[in-house]
Amino acid sequence: MRGKLIVILLAGVLLESTIISFPITLIIVSVYVLSVGADTVKWAFFGGLLLDFLAIRALGETSIFFLSMSWVISRYKKKLHFGNIIYFIIFLSCVSTFYGFLFFRFVTGLNVVGSLAIGAFILGIVKLIVKGDELDKSKIKI
């Protein structure tokens, strides 16, 4: 299961660093952290480092962004989960807009809509790969 998720993350990193100006790695990482859980924070760290290296950015720059985003998700976990789709949409829109300004220096409405669509697509894939009981259910614990 983890192997497949890592392959998707690597594919995202390669695409973003080679042919597209779109925050696909950010979307993958945010979906992982939201759906699979805290273990994926390590992937956010290593994925960010790899993206920095491949895209000739300062090493650690993207990792810091991804980890800060993971911290926000864990801090506001009761609000940020897939059961509350409005908060998730707002969160992903804000975070992809901020990322776009920071790393691509532009954001268009189409990019934000694309981020949401790809986020939904990746979530669908993650749900197919990860068995239901392995998905992060901590938010529904009482």
Binding site: L14, L15, E16, S17, T18, I19, I20, S21, A38, V41, K42, A44, F45, G48, L49, F53, L54, A55, I56, A58, L59, G60, E61, S63, I64, L67, S68, S70, W71, S74, F103, F104, R105, F106, T108
Partner: protein, 254 residues
Amino acid sequence: MGKKNLIYSLLVAAVVIFIADYFSLLGFIKNPLDAIVIPLKRTIYSASILVKNFGDVIGKYPQLADLISKEQNLNQNNEELTFRLKILEEENTKLRQQLGVSTPRAYKLIASPVISVTRFMEIGAGESEGIKAGMIVVDGSTLVGKVVQTSLRRSKIMLPTDSEINIAAKSNRGTRGLVTGQFGTNIIFDKVLQKDLLLLGDVVVTTGESEFPPNLVIGTVVSINSPDVSPYKSAKIEAPIDYKTASTVFVISS
């Protein structure tokens, strides 16, 4: 380790790595890895160009006969113009010699393969080939961009479509302005005085001010925006080359 502690530890590690890289202490790890990264990125980039070109071929298939006849005409024109150019160059050289004027300065170029194009263009040549930040990149007489960052074997180029680039430019009618990028896809010829003449089809070139050499082609004016309330007008420019499908570019080293 708790979830929060794990995030904090990794954040500290990322900050330490960031600082170490800022002071160029991680070159011993990054430089050997370039040897793997360059062919990998080049393969992915070439595959993406193939896919884009395949889409173009399918889209233009109905006009194939037309395109073939156009190509034949262009080839014929090209041969005639090349012949005329050769005669004019010889004539020009002789006249310069007679008048005692030195020949125009030729640039020393470093050919570099393109390995990726996202916000920046990345080339598979870096400090080991003598490339430094600030050098200008061309394709023929067309401006491709400016080197903004280098590693041992790779360099990052800021394209004219980037919103952070500012190039002093003029049109073939002498109208001056400033070229900058918009949304990572468009090139804008901005800060053109309303009184200055600017028409569709005008060619925009570098003026030679700041770090860009003179007379490098940036593009052709395809639309003009002239608001009544502003002292300036702007124009959208179309570059003669597609940056997203370039395969080799040349860095001006001197």
